[in-house]
Amino acid sequence: MAYDILATSQTPALIIYALDVSGSMEERLDGRTRIEVVMDALSAALQQIVFRCTKGGQISPRYRIAMFAYSDQVYDILNGVMTIDQVANLGVPELSTMRATNTDLVFREVERLLQNELPHLNNCPAPLVCHMTDGEFNGADPEATVRRIMTMGNSDGKVLVENIFISDGLLNERIIDPTNWQGVTYNTHLKNSYANKLRAMSSPLPESYRIMMAESGYNLDPGAVMMLPGMSPELVEMGFVMSMSTPVSQ
């Protein structure tokens, strides 16, 4: 089965976060700014990764993290790729909002990073790119770049691309309890054309990830895709949980 290589200290999993810090991230979502919701969810996700990697009082470097924040420029928050124990020592970065949303620029940077990394990731879990945005891109259309990224991969499978789209009213119904929600499939009606585009730029959810998410309490359908409508802080948090659902040894 693809996507079944365990994340270990010898074969760590690579997660690349691409976070939109455009001006619209100052808008409110359930009483807080969108950027605050994202930073809280990211902090919770990093803590959860540390949780999964800790044995006794030691963090085993089972994950490697890269983090880009982008508006009209791209900022490499961690200055390259860091192991999770290094990220834990650093703490969660603070991000402030800027201006535009040059999505293609950040994905080209992600592509460049993956080209550097993939030759060294034989026998490791397939890398995952977790993109969070709240609005349509400015500048070049990122879809071609993302599609190229989705053709890259290693022995475990193609690079996984996940999109968290923070916006209101994407679905016909409101999701009150994410743990009972089946997820977005290719047939789900999305009320926003950019959401449809992001779904086309999202990978199918691997079965091993779906099983790991079930252990975190989320019951997604087998046909779900790696796209989350960030209509509430709980769904944003679910998106970040999805990003770290690589199989690990218990």
């Binding site: 010898q10 803590q47 949780f51 044995k55 592509e111 030759p119 034989n122 190229r148």
Partner: protein, 504 residues
């Protein structure tokens, strides 16, 4: 005399044999590679009590994602073992073993929780890790276990377990546990918790001792034994090898092992098969394969190949006396290969290690990504013309590759110049727009060289050649008044700033 053996979680215990009053047994313990490296406590635990015609054991595997899984493992190994020893008769007489067992395990959470509460954290723990550890403390410490009591006087045995540590039982004719409790009886999700007690189902079974030839119990760190050992007890040599090399594998985990024989001692010094001789390893650059071959060995069930790399080993098997693998599938910086034979579930020594030289994985790619008019496209590396190649994130081809490229590049340049002279018989430059690049065909004999500038980044230090056989793409300077400036001194191609702008 009562023997109580409680293995130290901070040390490796080599395969050790004990000849008891009735039962004979051997055990071993090894921490995972990460745990040894950080010199911390292993999360497996094993306690054995043995006297006269009775032996009781508890083997535990602490859940690493719980709070200091070693605490639950150690507590349970000792407390459950003592309780089992003291209550063996009543348990063996009881028809309500499950309730009695569960009652003890749930009551034990009170004492265990005190141990968890009093566990101190290192002073230098980072805030994020401290927050995670305190969250884990609130959830408790957890462990799987396999417990057993064998009584030769009563000719009865009792086993209980939760989790995925293995309990394997052999009769005279072979392994019998799967027939008794199936293959799904060991579930990772089931465990004992210091805060919750039983998490999942408690399993138990009683078997007449006369049905048992021997019993083998081990934590999932030794999961390789599942497939390797089916019929016999492994020799001490084989068992020691498997334990030692488990620490070199990617999924290295703590290991605890116990094997019990009632009333006899098997031959554990079995003759090992011959190690394969004359290992030959070579790389085939044409099809990017690593090929290993060795002399035949008689009466061998399979061969095992170890690929050595800086982080450990990767193991493969074959039944032939040769083996090949795509170089691209090998771990980064693979340095050596060794092999051994397996016969009748016993392993030979490893062969002499054969060093290998694996090229840089980026240079083994048959294509690289090159920028062309702001877009990436794949390009067959074998016909790149040389000079600096703009392939973001990829290393330059090694000099070893350049040594055979040079004559090819010279031939291609000569071909280009000849072709250009045929096309431009009037001796003027022609501009052929090509997706953002302005192309110029150099007329034969013209001495004004050009500088290549990337149109996306406008970085004039970058030089770019599209390896087409029909044209070289360039982007000329704006003014055309700059003097020629040597940028690149690669013998095959000289690159300079143009002194005139090309005509439209």
């Amino acid at each position: 005399m009562l023997k109580v053996i409680s293995l130290d979680q901070n040390l490796e215990t080599p395969v050790s044999l004990v000849s008891g009053d009735y039962f004979n047994y051997r055990f071993a313990y090894a921490r995972s590679a990460d745990t040894i490296k950080s010199d911390t406590t292993g999360q497996d635990a094993l306690t054995i009590r043995e006297e006269g015609e009775r032996i009781a054991f508890v083997l535990c595997d602490g859940v690493s994602q719980s709070f200091y899984g070693n605490l639950a493992a150690r507590f349970l190994a000792e407390e459950l073992n003592l309780w089992l020893w003291e209550n063996a008769d009543s348990l063996l007489n009881s028809n309500e073993i499950s309730e009695v067992f569960a009652g003890f395990l749930n009551r034990s959470t009170e004492n265990a929780s005190r141990i968890v509460s009093s566990q101190s954290l290192p002073d230098d723990v980072a805030p994020m890790l401290r927050a995670v550890l305190e969250k884990k403390r609130g959830l408790g410490s957890e462990s799987t276990f396999v417990a057993g009591c064998l009584d030769a006087g009563r000719r009865e045995t009792l086993f209980a377990w939760m989790g995925d540590s293995r309990l394997r039982i052999w009769g005279i004719k072979g392994e019998i546990d799967r027939n008794i409790f199936g293959i799904d009886a060991f579930k990772t999700q089931e465990r004992w918790s210091t805060s919750k007690g039983l998490v999942g189902d408690l399993h138990f079974i009683k078997i007449d001792l006369d049905q048992i030839h021997h019993v083998m119990v081990y934590s999932d760190g030794l999961a390789r034994l599942d497939a390797k050992i089916r019929m016999n007890s492994p020799s001490n040599h084989t068992l020691s090898q498997i334990i030692a090399e488990s620490g070199r594998l990617a999924a290295s985990d703590d290991i605890s092992y116990l094997e019990i024989w009632p009333g006899f001692f098997p031959d554990l010094q079995k003759t090992s098969p011959k190690a394969p001789a004359h290992l030959r390893v070579k790389t085939q650059p044409n099809n990017h394969q690593l090929v290993a071959s060795w002399n035949k060995v008689n009466h061998v069930d399979e061969f095992e190949i170890a690929i050595h790399h800086p982080k450990g080993w990767q193991l493969f098997t074959t039944q032939k006396n040769s083996w090949e693998i795509a170089i691209r599938s090998l771990p980064i910086n693979t340095s050596a290969v060794s092999i051994r034979s397996w016969s009748d579930e016993n392993a030979s020594d490893w062969s002499r290690t054969q060093p290998v030289s694996i090229p840089d994985p980026s240079s083994m790619n048959s294509t690289i990504m090159v920028r062309d008019s702001g877009l990436y496209r794949e390009q067959d590396q074998s016909i790149i013309m040389g000079g600096d190649i703009y392939a973001p994130g990829l290393n330059r081809p090694s000099k070893r590759h350049r040594s055979w490229l040079l004559p090819v590049l010279v031939l291609i340049e000569v071909g280009l110049i000849c072709l250009a002279s045929l096309v431009l018989s009037v001796g003027t430059n022609k501009i052929i727009p090509a997706d953002g690049w302005i192309s110029t065909l150099l007329p034969f004999g013209q001495s004004s060289p050009v500088q290549v500038i990337n149109p996306d980044s406008h970085d004039r230090q970058e030089k770019k050649f599209l390896p087409s056989a029909t044209h070289i793409s360039i982007f000329p300077t704006q003014t055309g008044t700059e003097k020629p400036k040597q940028i690149d001194s690669t013998p095959a191609i000289q690159v300079f700033t143009p002194i005139v702008s090309p005509e439209p």
